[in-house]
Symmetry: D2
Subunit: 397 residues, 4 copies
């Protein structure tokens, strides 16, 4: 049976993901890809009728399509284990993440939460304390960390293959908010550009956090200070749609993060370049099955996602489902986040002690660091790029 000793599928309760949602379907496909989980309940919308109407999309019984997350947690808690939901996926706009996650944790459900984790740093820290004092597994869908070659790169760096890391350049370039589509009926754009829902940052909260997190996840370098400049290039927009940040790492290394939502025709161009004293690597999300590894005097090496290749390290290999040349992509990477969290849930269930900081999946501590990134980016930008403290005690390494 999948999920080893647990001997059954994990049961998923979705918050959000109602009709018209994009990310809800991504979560359910990713969570269920390996046949280790199934959606059994949902509070798909804060509108009870719409929630019911969305149940069919997920093959959820109407009786378990709830009118609110509170109702779902209450009702489900009363079901016997193995029947009730095991974990909650939070796929709602940012400003609601905290209350939902908090309630889920308090109800004893594991949580998979969209990023950015909360509306502000205060909420994030409160949530982290709550999670740490609980026994729930809390995953954060910084989904780009789920790509097999990202895991491979992380292990290569951890093992010293690239030497000391000195520079990280991470970019996330999009173009979809080039015009003010939030004024038309574009739901995705509307809440993301609304400070009351998105939080203090727009572009930097939505996508720069991913780019920053990716560098941290791969290198383990600890941040010390940040300087940032945000711009709003589309007239009348309330939040930033472009920006660039510099990060001083505690080993003297320098990081740069640039994010854009206004670059015409650019789709979802997450790229990262990492320079070490022994080698460098680069990777681009839009072509995720190849990674460049280079060293002076040697041919450039292309590491392809090849689970059977001797050069693949354990964590890279474990994240593959297909042989080389059969491309894997976004859904599979997203599913790898779920898979790592499921491993932890299953281990917990078996009474094993599980890692809480340096987990394979991004966790509540990464979420706190992400909120600190947003807060200090915005603050630095308001002070014309002043260097601000950016040490996160909870940070993975």
């Amino acid at each position: 049976m999948t999920n080893g000793p647990l001997n059954r599928k994990l049961k998923m309760g979705m918050v959000g993901g109602g009709q018209g949602s994009f990310i809800g379907k991504v979560h359910s496909i990713a969570a269920c890809l390996d046949n280790r989980a199934e959606v059994v309940a949902g509070a798909f919308s804060s509108n009870p009728q719409r929630s019911k109407a969305s149940a069919a999309d997920y093959n959820v019984a109407e009786s378990r399509a709830y009118g609110s997350y509170q109702e779902m947690f209450d009702k489900e808690r009363q079901l016997p284990e193995g029947e009730r939901i095991d974990f909650v996926t939070v796929a709602t706009p940012n400003h609601t993440h905290f209350e939902i996650s908090k309630a889920a944790v308090e109800a004893g459900f594991h949580v998979m939460c969209d990023k950015p984790m909360t509306f502000d740093l205060g909420q994030a820290e409160e949530l982290a304390v709550l999670v740490d004092n609980s026994s729930v597994v809390f995953g954060l869908t910084h989904n780009y960390t789920g790509y097999p070659l990202i895991r491979q790169a992380r292990e290569m760096i951890q093992s010293g293959e690239l030497g000391e890391i000195q520079a990280v350049r991470a970019n996330y370039i999009q173009g979809w908010l080039r015009s003010k589509i939030e004024d038309s009926d574009q739901k995705q754009a509307a809440w993301r550009t609304d400070p009351s829902k998105s939080g203090a940052a727009g572009c930097f909260g939505d996508i720069a956090t991913h780019a920053y997190n990716l560098g941290r996840y791969m290198t383990g370098l600890l941040s010390e200070e940040i300087s940032c400049h945000l711009r709003t290039f589309v007239p009348g927009r309330k939040l930033d749609d472009y920006g660039t940040a510099l990060i001083k790492y505690d080993n003297g290394g320098l990081g740069t993060v640039t994010a854009s939502q206004i670059s015409h025709g650019r789709e979802n161009d997450v790229t990262i370049e990492i320079d070490g004293t022994k080698g460098s690597l680069s990777w681009a999300q839009e072509n995720p099955n190849a990674m460049q590894v280079r060293a002076n005097g040697q041919p450039h090496k292309i590491y392809t996602r090849d689970p059977n290749a001797p050069y693949m390290l354990a964590s890279g290999q474990a994240a593959c489902r297909l042989p080389a040349g059969h491309p894997e992509a976004f859904f599979e990477a997203f599913a790898n986040i779920y898979a790592a969290a499921f491993d932890a849930i299953v281990a917990k269930h078996s009474g094993e002690k599980v890692e809480r900081i340096n987990t394979v999946y991004p966790n509540v501590h990464d979420g706190v660091e992400g909120m600190l990134f947003i807060q200090q980016s915005v603050a630095s930008s308001q002070q014309n790029g002043a260097w601000l403290p950016f040490k996160c005690d909870r940070a993975r390494r």
Copy 2:
């Protein structure tokens, strides 16, 4: 509910896919990706104990893990509709496809069969007659036709955007059989290089069929004659591991198909280039989210898989699950084959008349043409490349 008027998931019975199988998992993930189907039964191995032992991998109840496909069909047929399997997936070595498919059709189950469809042409034609006289939907997993940009290209060509098609160059280059790994314990290699299991051709049956089919699916050009040269470059191997074929199309066009399993370090490099009087296009499976469309005097155009772009035609758009820049890949394309067959099954269930020749999914007629391709390729090669007839009456256009 998924599957519209049918109002429930389709129930899948797997033949093959037992422990150690690669393609079985691919089929189940692809079939279940959109939450429209679930694996409920299986004859996972011809060894009954191994079949039972494999059930857990698919979350199938042990009681429905059968010792043989015959047993599965017999027992399942006795279950009420809605409980019994709706369709059978045939994921076994080539030489068993015919008997299993035939039995499934005779038992009234829809079929999704791996390619090449049968062991030889005679079986293929017998099966096609059987399917045509039945009411089952029969899909063939020429999975590369499931990529959104392939569907897009097909519709562009059908609508005349590229003008008259005059040349097709399709290649499928791999390297995994560069050494004689069939002599070691490599199950995948062993049956594929064994003429008693693979059929008359090795490389040409396994992969050149895909490349040929892709050109036919995209262009609809009808073949008239074929000339082929096969080679076995690895000493002692019993079947071809390299070859090239030329095809005369009935409009005077010329096609070339080259396939290799002995090209060092090459993974799964399916490429196709199509020349029309108004434009040309090219696509590569290892980077499937982009397609080059070119015309003299104009900038080269990269069509990316973008469901929201005005340039995307209906069939390309329908095959997307994610916005541009969020790459989709092998599993999603494979799932699109299932999805199109599911559409037909659901339509049939509702009493609608469904297309049987020019289906969106590759079908039993494509399977016949594929077997004719293999037969005539081998025969031509034995006659030093003599041009042989290659008209398939059942061919799509």
Copy 3:
């Protein structure tokens, strides 16, 4: 005859470029590529014997291989026009550019000078005044501006095709100074890492200036302020080998320039991305015959260097020597800098008035701006990235 009304080749006198020099040969090949110039004299080395010994490399008569630039200018000035050198190429380490250029201008010779133009800003400004008050043509070999697609992009931007430019991201990534090769017998590395020869900056003077200049040349956006962080990652090195700068343009746009000499295996990776309100473009020097032009909702467009394509504008077309698909590269781009300066020299000779600021070739004013870039980058970095004024009165637009 080449050079139109002038009706003869231009005569070139080289300063520097002695045995072992790389850039000297580049200058002579580039200058002579179109048969419009020939090297007739040289002060190839400050060591008279080495200068003589180098003459043969350039097919220069020994009698015109001088022991010093002063001697060359003196002697050549006494030759009749048409026999004496017309222009001087300055291909020496940075700290000598000023005195040589100044002497050349004062002697009435046109000048082609390597970048950075001088040792410091004061020299640059003095030189600019001198040039402006003279009748000489002064070109600066920011050679990347010579690529046909860069000229094409510049004209597209000037004509408004991309709308208002809001963001420029320019990178220049190399790896050759990853280890401390200046300690071994590597002449190129030695002077570039020596502050007494290179000037105030290392990496930023040598290559970031190129990246910055490229953005300015293409967009014409005027800079207002700069913030910079430099790093020296190789222990014991005296100058920066990595850095990143932000630029505020006077239209509210934001520029970023990142340069590295310590990125393993990276060769000469100059890239630029430009975001406008109507379109975006990107280009990479290592693959210079293609440029990406994108706009939301449209296929990505690849503009190839195609002199016969309707989409090519006049300046792009004029910079091509070969039809599309026949790649042109570094030498040809370098030659385009010379060609544009030659046009100006020829025009002057015919008594035409020539442009002095917004020239096709980079000029003495670009050189001043480059030195200001270096000075303020270093100063800002020393003040932990403080924003410093970066308006250059002489700047092109």
Copy 4:
């Protein structure tokens, strides 16, 4: 002095290259790039007035712009050595190559001739005998062999790095003759599609010869038989504009050559893939500074053109003029053909014995093989692809 012991530039006499010619300028730029040659005379056009008028383009004195090649050879022969031309470049349409080359050889001038070498095989063989019995150096501008990475690949193959070569796939895809531009005033198209000027083949003579030659040059595999299918896709055209050939090599290897002039938007896409028992490689002319080298189980390797890299072999290194990342391209490759022939001329001058078959530059024997390729391709195509003998006694190996 350049040209070592010869101690002077070589003097070039051009036949063809008059006003409006493209290839004439390519020859003169390539020949003169390294300062080892200069154009001093020309019969630029068969129209004496146009010949005179073209002299200025090459900076040739009017007195040495001749009205015919015969006149040039006569007059120049009477000049003293060191003043008269050393070699003749033949840059005229195909049907005139033989008579000009023959006359040049008979006059004792070295020859650089455009490909295909002659109008038919008979001429080619006659010319080869003549050259072999003379002391002239005869080079053929199969210019793609001049790329540094092609030289590198050739040496890698010769040294056994890729093992036994079993398959070669060479393509040359263009689109410029997609419409019948020979009917308008397009001089290049007009003679190339005219059998009285181009010879027996169009596309196959003009470009497939390059692709075939490239494979032979790189691998040294000897051809035994050829089968070919030519097509004329543009109605009314008199020669082939598309075709594909198969080659049986004498070691049992298989080659494929496909060439097109009718593929919309395709520029000058020469590609080659070579499969050996120990490794494979691939290269594309439009991106000539990188070559893929692959072996199962290893990261893909990109060999960049890097004269300083330990992996570069002597011949690859010798063909570089610039450090890695500073792209070299078409002109430089073309110049490398000249450079290798110049080396032979200089060596001859010094009384050294020089290689005549396996020369670094393509030679008269390659020219014979090229004409045999054309003749047998056309003949095979006329016999529906019959296998015809294709052994060339003069072939390099």
